[in-house]
Each structure stands twice: as C-alpha cells, then as structure tokens.
C-alpha cells in the first residue's frame, strides 16, 4: 500500500517537470494570441499618430500619453459620463426592482414560481425586434429620443431578468431557519430584507451589479438607434472614427482603451462572480 503510493509519487515527480514545462509553453502561447489584440490596442494608444499609421508597424518606440490627454481634453468625457449614468442608473433600478422579486421567488415561493421565473428569463432573450419599433415610436412621440433616461429604462429592461435569476440563486442558499427566527421575533418584510437578506447576499449583489454593468456599459444597438448627441454613450464616440476622420489610429486606440477600462477592471477584480453571473447562477 505505502510502496504503491510511493511508486505513484516518484513516477509523477519524474514525469512532471518536462510535461509541465511543455504544456505551460503551449498554454502561454495560446493565451498570448488571445490577449494580443488587447495588448496591441494599449501599445497603439501609447504611440504618436505617425508611429501608429506606419508600414511596417512600429514595434520599438518611446511611449507617450499624448493621445490619452488629447482624448480626455477633447469631446470624449460627455460620452463617458453618459455611459456611467446609463449603467449605474439601470443597475440600481435592477437591484431595487429585482431584489424584492427574487426574494418572493426564493423565500416565499408563490404558485407557479417556475413559470414566473421562465417568463422573466424569456424576456431577456427576446430579440430586439420584439419591442424595438413600438418603443422607438413611443420615445419619439414623448420626445424622449436622445435622452439618457430612456437608455436607463431600456438597460433596466435588458438586465432585470438576469438580476432576478441571479439574486434568487444567491437567496436560495440562505438557511430557511434564519427567516423563521426573524419572523418569530416579529420582523416585518422590510426589516427582513434590509437586516438579513442584503447583508447575507452581498456577493450576490456584487455579481448582479457586475453583470448589469458589463451588459449596459458595452451596449450598442439601442444606444445607436435611440440617441444621437446629448445622450450618446461611449461606443458612439468610437463610431465617429469609422468615417470622415482620416487615419487617427493612435487616438482611436486611446479612446478604445479608455472606453473598455471600467468593464475590464470590474471583470478582472470580480472574476469569481463573473462565471456565476454569466450562467444566471447555474454554475457556482
């Protein structure tokens, strides 16, 4: 028994370094290929315009923050602020509407809970086509086109189903006895929600906020069709690079870097919540 175990150990020890090195090299190569476009974006952003639009491509250069300064002191900030308002506003609305709903579906299940859940999620995967035209006409008639408040409402619609599912999956993990005890002590619904639920599912709230942030910050379809100037978000600033501006690759890369930064950082920091959020709580 112990001899067997030892043989197993020595065999693993002797075969392990070469294969580990080999697979590490293969792995890092693959990761490098996937990460390269992001790295290239950062490098281009640190170049001057002539360096960025050169053939052959410039590899060695003295990095400069000139393009970042240019973008930040130019017309980019309003777009960035609009993105922030739309994302944070809709995320808060999702939490305010979604938390009670998730609570009802998890802690005090109503009849046909399963159907209500699937009704919610089916609305997330409705094509834009389902409600696009009437929403557009309504926004036009109410003079709400190019209004950031409209985007807040639309992004809430997009993220609410995800929020309800995700928050419910976290709520299901709270031991039921806790609520019984609170109710025996005479706690009402609001006390229960603020004193027990919110502190216990703080990670769930973080995961939900992260997913809402990713989808609303990066959203483009509604932004391009429902806004034009005053309420335009960060992706629309990038659209202006497609035509009519000549070759401004360094500036484009700097703007793309800045526009991607909030979601990239949030996603990297909250990696653990990311997987659970993306799978609607199915994968822990």
């Amino acid at each position: 028994m112990s001899a067997n175990a030892m043989r197993g150990n020595t065999r693993r020890a002797s075969s392990f370094p070469t294969s580990k090195v080999l697979w590490s090299v293969v792995g890092w190569l693959v990761v490098f290929i996937f990460f390269f476009p992001v790295l290239w974006m950062w490098l281009e952003a640190l170049k001057t315009e002539p360096q960025a639009a050169s053939s052959p491509p410039t590899v060695f250069f003295v990095p400069t923050l000139m393009e970042f300064q240019d973008v930040l002191s130019g017309d980019f900030p309003p777009f960035f602020i609009n993105s922030a308002i739309a994302s944070i506003g809709s995320t808060l609305l999702v939490l305010v509407l979604g938390l009670p709903a998730a609570y009802a579906l998890a802690i005090r299940p109503v009849k046909r809970t399963q159907d209500v859940l699937f009704f919610f999620i089916s609305t997330r995967f409705l094509p834009f086509a389902a409600s696009l035209v009437p929403l557009y006409l309504l926004a036009r008639d109410l003079h709400l086109l190019d209004n950031i408040f409209t985007l807040v409402l639309i992004y809430t619609t997009i993220n609410l189903p995800l929020g309800v599912w995700l928050l419910r999956s976290f709520l299901l993990e709270i031991p039921h006895d806790l609520f019984e005890a609170a109710r025996v002590d005479g706690a009402g619904f609001l006390t229960e929600l603020t004193r027990i639920v919110v502190p216990l599912i703080a990670p769930g709230i973080a995961a939900t906020s992260l997913i809402c942030l990713i989808f609303s910050w990066n959203e483009f379809f509604y932004a391009v069709n429902f806004t034009s100037s005053t309420a335009a978000t960060a992706p629309l600033f990038l659209v202006s690079f497609i035509s009519g501006r000549g070759f401004f690759y360094a500036k484009l890369a700097a703007a793309a870097t800045l526009a991607s930064l909030p979601v990239l950082l949030a996603g990297w920091i909250a990696q653990k919540q990311l997987i659970r959020g993306l799978t609607l709580g199915a994968v822990k």
Binding site: V110, F118, T123, P127, A129, V133, G267
Partner: protein, 310 residues
C-alpha cells in the same frame, strides 16, 4: 348551537381571507418587477404584432393602412430576408462550434499542471470584457487594415501580402472576431465543469490502464457535457443577436454578405423606416427564439437543479 355554527363559519371565512391576504403579501414584492417587465416588453410586443399587419412607412406621412398578411408574404418571398436568415445561421453555428472547441481545449490546459494558471485565466477573459465596438474597430483598423495592419504585414512572407481580409473574406472575419470574443466565455464555463471533477476518479482510470484520450472521452467529457450545453445555449442566444461587430467591421456588406437578422432589422427599421415590415420580422424572430430558448433553458436548468440537489 346556531351561534356556534355561525361563529365557526366566521372563523372559516377569516381563515380563508387571511390565506388570501397572505398569498397577496407573498406576491407583492414580485409585482413591481413583474409590472415593469410586462409594460416594457409584453405590451410593445403586442403593438409589434399589430403593426405587422399594417403597411406603414414613417417617411411617407399618412401611409398607415391595414395590409393583412402582406408583410408576412413578403417575408417568405423576399431574398434579403432569406440571405439574412442564412447568414445568421452560418454566423451562430460557426462561432458557437469553434469557440466551444477552442474553449474546451484551453480550459483543459488551464485545468492541468501549468505555470501561472491564475494570470493565464485573467488574461484569457479580457477579450470577453473589452467593449465589442472598441474591439471590432481595433481589429479592423490596426490588425486587419491592408495598409497599416499588423496581420497583413505578418502574412506578407507567405505570399498573402497586403490582402484586404475584411473585404475578401467578410464573413470569416466577423466569425473570427466573434470567436475571439466568445472563446473566453466558453472556456470559463467549461473550466468550472472541469474543476468540479474529482481528480481521484481520473487517477483511478489511469491506474486501470486508460490512456489520456480514453479517460477524457469516457470520464471527463460526460461530466462537462451539461456545462458545454449550457455554454452553447446561452452563447447562441447572444450570438444570434450579433450587431456591434457587423456594424463596425463590414456594415452588413459587401453587398449583403454579412447582413444577419438584427442588422437587416436595423436597415429596414432605421434606414427604410418600414415599420410594418420591421414588425413582421420581429414577430417571426420572437417566435423562433422563444421556442428554442424556452425548451433549451428548461431542459438545462432542470439538469443543473437535479445536480445541485444531489
């Protein structure tokens, strides 16, 4: 006697009304979200159905009139729509297929003994987090651009010099950019599946003489299958709606080579302002998506719930 009976009746009625009140109290927290969702998705959808039976072009004031099934008849005969549906299928199937294969391979790599797993995983998920519009522009202008792009330059020694890849292979390039974006997503989900595996089982299989391939096929693959299916389903629901990268890379062209259903809808609704036709496209898209998504999600989440209970 009579008074006892009547008081009993009162008690029963109170019990019933308490139960009813309780049921409403239970539903109450659900209501705001429910009402909101119905207001912004269901009522507009009913309007979409209504518009789909009408001929209405916003650019022609007074053109609103009932047209019966004309818009649907046009859907069946219109070549643009057939092309768009075909492009959507090609795009979705190839992006999901390739990114699952790559995601599975990379997840297996990250689940084995390699140096710097955490950093590798962190760098791998970046493509999924980068704003799609930003990523598409970076690909188009700095990587694929025939004059200044890095890829055509690197390909010069292979005799492909200065090829305009986006114009020559538009669909392949859209697929490539989307695969780059969705592979990390698949990798994350499949990696979670691999990590739920008990390593002792694999060890036992190896002791029993199974080679790595056999162990993978017979033990690992069945275990991660539900994870792959979950990734495929969620991924398809998102990829079917691809709009950003098409808008940025090809604008649906050249011709209609990369026009998928969402992009066609955009063109019909916001360039042609053909409300009736756009609505008909919407109704058909909803029916198709709902059927696939509802069946798929129900099946999958029942699998995952069963496993969680075990």
């Amino acid at each position: 006697m009579g008074s006892v009976a009547s008081s009993g009746g009162v008690r029963v009625r109170t019990a019933a009304s308490v139960a009813r009140r309780d049921a409403w109290l239970r539903r109450l927290p659900l209501l705001p979200a429910f009402v909101y969702v119905v207001l912004v998705t269901q009522i507009p959808f009913v309007l979409t159905i209504y518009y789909s039976f009408h001929s209405w072009n916003l650019l022609k004031p007074g053109s609103f009139r009932f047209s019966g099934l004309d818009n649907y008849a046009a859907l069946l005969t219109d070549e643009h729509i057939r092309t768009a549906v075909l492009n959507t299928v090609v795009l979705t199937v190839s992006v999901i297929g390739i990114s699952i294969a790559l995601g599975l391979a990379i997840a297996s790599l990250l689940n084995s003994e390699v140096f710097g797993k955490g950093v590798m995983r962190t760098l791998m998920i970046a493509p999924f987090l980068i704003m799609p519009t930003a990523a598409a522009l970076i690909w188009k202008d700095t990587l694929l651009n025939p004059l200044f792009g890095l890829l055509p330059y690197l390909l010069t020694p292979f005799g492909l010099g200065r090829a305009d890849l986006v114009n020559q292979h538009p669909m392949a390039m859209v697929v490539a950019v989307e695969v780059w974006r969705w592979t990390p997503f698949m990798m994350l989900i499949i990696l979670a599946g691999l990590q739920s595996q008990n390593p002792e089982v694999l060890e036992a299989a190896r002791v029993d003489g199974a080679n790595a391939f056999q162990a993978f096929r017979r033990i690992t693959l069945p275990l991660v299958r539900p994870f792959i299916e979950l990734g495929a389903l969620l991924g398809s629901l998102f990829v079917v709606q691809t709009f950003d990268s098409i808008y940025m890379l090809t604008y649906g062209g050249p011709g209609e080579d990369t026009t998928n259903v969402p992009f066609l809808l955009y063109k019909v609704a916001f360039q042609g302002f053909d409300i009736g036709q756009a609505s008909a496209i919407g109704v058909v898209a909803v029916i198709l998506t709902t059927v696939v998504a509802t069946i798929g999600l129900r099946t999958l989440f029942s699998i995952f719930q069963v496993e969680a209970r075990r």
